[in-house]
């Protein structure tokens, strides 16, 4: 009996030795330089005046925020320089407690004065200082710094989602002393409290950062430094990732590009995917005949098979999710049942196309009617979207000329109303109706409404939802707005939302793919395995 027990024990012990131990969460390893790619150059280094990821991707790691999005739990907002915060009951006063002992890269200490100066620049820019997102903070009356560790925001009216707005990845915290001396200094220089110091930038080539040893978060950053390679050509970018010269790129690749990478180094890369807070829309010039006729507009949106397109285009472009004005799958999105009732979102394409043809006849549009679809000359994903739309409209007897124009002309034409239909896009860092809806307000209210229509119902709906605190009620109003824009009036329509696909070498740890490429890279959290 004892011998049997011993044998059993022995067998168990042997097996225990052979079976690998569950590793669980590996401890982050310090060291290494992360090399990643950015496909565009930063126009300037000032986060408050730029809107492009091209500025964020190399510059962001040098700065801290008051509060920021937690990339591991997006869209949760956590404190960065703020230790904690409270709100008054009426929602009009937000008080933030600032960490002590935070140092700038030049050794000086951060106080609430710096944060106040930063937000004053963002919300109340003086002189020729440009603050691009100023409009989001219209509800702020004043920013105060009563003592070195406290910042207070006083609002004119309660603003739902105010914390998220403060957490904008563009709100780099700057040094008050520098801003007083020269408020435009930050356009060409770097001085922050972020996890990395600035080392060098060779225009057109690369950007280098090194660990800031006095970073307030002990133990972080794990990386010794980082290096950004500026590579505009996609094939060069893919080749770089395949060869391991760079570990990843933080914007996104198409599924075909992904399969290309996987085929070469499949076992050595992980893939992060997420719906993307970016989309392609088509704006219709309601001032031009026959697009002033709602029947024609509805026919145009009905003809597009979005579900089929999602499947077909997702192979060659990074588009996929089908949705309305708000992020598909997000807190504000319509349910699929509601969505499929909108024009162009049904599953029965043949019926939709028949109805579209009928509407066109009714409106007096002849067979083979020709118009121009203007588009940007960017290959991804504008070109495939444009080509797809042209093909879809061919199937209801419309002869569409696809005209891809370069950016300068594109914006000029769009603004001047010099187009029939134009492919547009929208990208943001938060899924908030206050940010997504203004595009569709009347043209005399919203300067970015290039469709040229006036619709007071929409204007009223927008104001109402903006003041509604109850989420469910607010969602109802938002959906009403959506139905009017996309279905009843068909002023504009959404083609497809984008899909973020990020292949990255397995050696990169601590990375989590979020819905937008503005809150990434969160370099303080990343580390490199052996």
């Amino acid at each position: 009996m004892t011998r049997r027990v011993l044998a059993l024990l022995g067998a168990v012990l042997l097996m225990a030795m052979l079976v690998p131990f569950p590793t669980g969460a590996q401890a982050p390893r310090r060291g290494g330089t992360l090399v990643y790619i950015s496909t565009s150059q930063p126009p300037s280094f000032d986060g408050h005046r730029e809107t492009t990821f091209a500025m964020l991707h190399p510059v962001k790691p040098h700065y801290s925020y008051l509060v920021k999005f937690d990339t591991h739990n997006y869209p949760k907002v956590i404190g960065d320089l703020a230790e904690s915060w409270t709100t008054s009951r009426d929602g009009l006063t937000w008080t933030f407690k600032i960490r002590s002992g935070v140092k700038f890269h030049d050794g000086s200490t951060l106080t609430s004065r710096d944060i106040k100066a930063t937000y004053d620049k963002i919300i109340f820019p003086k002189g020729d200082v440009v603050s691009v997102r100023q409009a989001i903070y219209q509800s702020v009356r004043a920013v105060e710094a009563p003592d070195p560790q406290t910042v207070v925001f006083r609002l004119k009216y309660a603003t739902p989602g105010f914390l998220e707005k403060l957490a904008s990845p563009f709100n780099f915290v700057y040094k008050a002393e520098i801003l007083e001396r020269d408020p435009r200094w930050y356009e060409r220089n770097i001085m922050g409290t972020g996890p990395f110091r600035f080392v060098e930038y060779v225009r057109g080539s690369h950007w280098v950062g090194r660990r800031f040893e006095d970073y307030y978060e002990r133990g972080k950053p794990y990386l010794d430094g980082y290096r950004v390679l500026f590579i505009a050509s996609r094939s060069a970018m893919l080749a770089a990732i395949k060869s391991g010269q760079a570990l990843t790129e933080f914007r996104g690749v198409s599924p075909a590009e992904l399969s290309d990478i996987v085929r070469s180094v499949g076992d050595r890369v992980s893939v992060g995917t997420s719906p993307w807070q970016c989309n392609n829309t088509v704006t219709i010039n309601t001032k031009k005949k026959p697009f002033d006729d709602v029947r024609v507009r509805r026919a145009l949106t009905m003809a597009v098979d979005r579900w089929g397109g999602s499947q077909a285009l997702s192979e060659i472009a990074f588009v996929k999710p089908v949705g309305g004005i708000m992020l598909p799958g997000g807190a504000w999105a319509m349910s699929e049942a509601e969505l499929t009732r909108l024009a162009g979102y049904g599953r029965d394409t043949t019926a939709a196309r028949q109805r579209a043809r009928a509407l066109l006849r009714e409106a007096g549009v002849p067979e083979n009617f020709s118009f121009t679809l203007k588009n940007r000359d960017i290959a991804m994903p504008y070109e495939p979207v444009g080509v797809y739309l042209v093909d879809q409209w061919r199937q209801i007897g419309l002869n569409v000329q696809h005209q891809q124009v370069e950016a300068g002309r594109y914006f000029a034409d769009q603004r001047a109303g010099n187009y029939d239909l134009v492919v547009d896009f929208a990208c943001d860092f938060i899924d908030d109706p206050d940010v997504q809806l203004p595009k569709f307000l009347s043209s005399d209210v919203s300067p970015i409404n290039y469709g040229g229509y006036i619709d007071r119902q929409l204007d009223a709906l927008y104001v109402r939802q903006s003041r509604t605190a109850d989420k469910a009620q607010r969602a109802q109003l938002v959906h009403q707005f959506e139905r009017r824009v996309l279905d009843e009036q068909a002023y504009a329509f959404y083609v497809l939302w984008w899909q973020r696909i990020i292949p990255y070498w397995k050696t990169l740890r601590g990375y989590n793919t979020t819905t937008n490429h503005y809150v990434e890279p969160d370099l303080g959290e990343y580390w490199l395995a052996e």
Binding site: D128, R203, G204, F230, A412
Partner: protein, 317 residues
């Protein structure tokens, strides 16, 4: 001779001035606005007030005449101004990219010359025979192959067959010759092949012309060794048009390699030109075009000088 030199030099200034004026006018005809491009292309919502303020700051709202005077006086003071997009001095922007473009141009020229002169000579000497035909086919093909397609094929072979990717960032030659050459040899080959085609044809025809000349025939009749004739008489005189072609093509290479730079992802002057035009960066476009024209004109001038030195008869025209 000096009068010739001075006369040629005197032509440069009016040409460049005309370029400066024309460029100033042309950039402002193009529709599109740098501020919009900069602020709106991110995709988010920017108020027109912000856009206006920025235009004001860049000096775009100043009267055209003022902008023109600023530009012209700047040229006189050799100050090309500041890029509207990045705020950096234009000389700095160009300075970063010029070494790469220059090196690429030199390498391509060397490759081209090394191929062209021997091949062209061979073809001329064996005129009508199979080697002549072969050389002609090679060089005519070189003119027909789009150099950017050749570049794509090179990358395809390197990556697909050898799994090799050339370095993606530029390291100066002095700093790390291996990395530097590993990056630039491939575009130099792609460009050099086409370049050599032009030069081969010119070498061949120039040599043929010279070989027909009376004095060569005389030397031949006198019984001088072929090599001697070649070296002492024929080649030297055939060099004239060949040098012209090499010079002209070289001038074209700085800034003309727009597409090749895209294919190989090179941070060169051609790429900067395309970016500047796409971004409607008026000051940068103006400065770049002026420099490209200057380069062209200077190279032409040097070629003219060389021409005159090699064949003094020219100066009497």
């Amino acid at each position: 001779m000096t009068r010739y030199v001075v006369a040629r030099l005197a032509l440069i200034v009016p040409t460049l001035l005309t370029v400066a004026v024309l460029i100033f006018i042309l950039v402002r005809i193009v529709p599109g606005d740098i501020v919009e491009l900069r602020l709106v292309s991110g995709g988010s919502f920017v108020t027109p007030g912000v856009i206006e303020a920025e235009r004001e700051r860049l000096g775009l709202n100043k009267p055209i005449w003022d902008q023109f005077v600023e530009w012209m006086t700047g040229i006189v003071r050799l100050d090309l101004g500041v890029s509207m997009w990045s705020g950096n001095p234009i000389t700095q922007e160009i300075g970063i990219r010029l070494p790469l473009s220059l090196q690429l141009a030199v390498m391509a020229s060397l490759i081209a010359t090394a191929i062209a002169i021997p091949l062209g000579t061979l073809a001329a000497l064996h005129r009508g025979r199979w080697i002549d035909h072969l050389v002609q086919v090679i060089s005519v093909a070189g003119l027909a192959v789009p150099s950017f397609w050749l570049g794509i094929l090179i990358i395809l072979v390197l990556l697909g067959v050898f799994g090799y990717l050339p370095p993606l960032t530029f390291t100066p030659l002095m700093q790390d010759p291996r990395a530097n050459l590993a990056q630039l040899i491939w575009p130099a080959l792609a460009v050099g092949y086409r370049y050599s085609a032009v030069t081969t044809r010119m070498t061949r025809s120039a040599l043929l012309e010279v070989l027909r000349e009376d004095y060569v025939r005389t030397a031949w009749a006198k019984g001088l060794a072929r090599q001697v004739i070649l070296r002492r008489h024929a080649l030297r005189n055939a060099l004239l048009p060949v040098v012209t072609v090499i010079g002209l093509e070289f001038a074209f290479l700085i800034g003309g390699l727009v597409v090749t730079e895209q294919v190989f992802n090179l941070n060169g002057v051609g790429k900067l030109i395309v970016e500047a035009i796409a971004q409607r960066d008026y000051t940068l476009i103006q400065g770049l075009m002026l420099l490209v024209a200057l380069g062209y004109v200077l190279v032409n001038f040097i070629v003219d000088l060389l021409y005159a030195w090699l064949d003094p008869r020219i100066t009497y025209q």
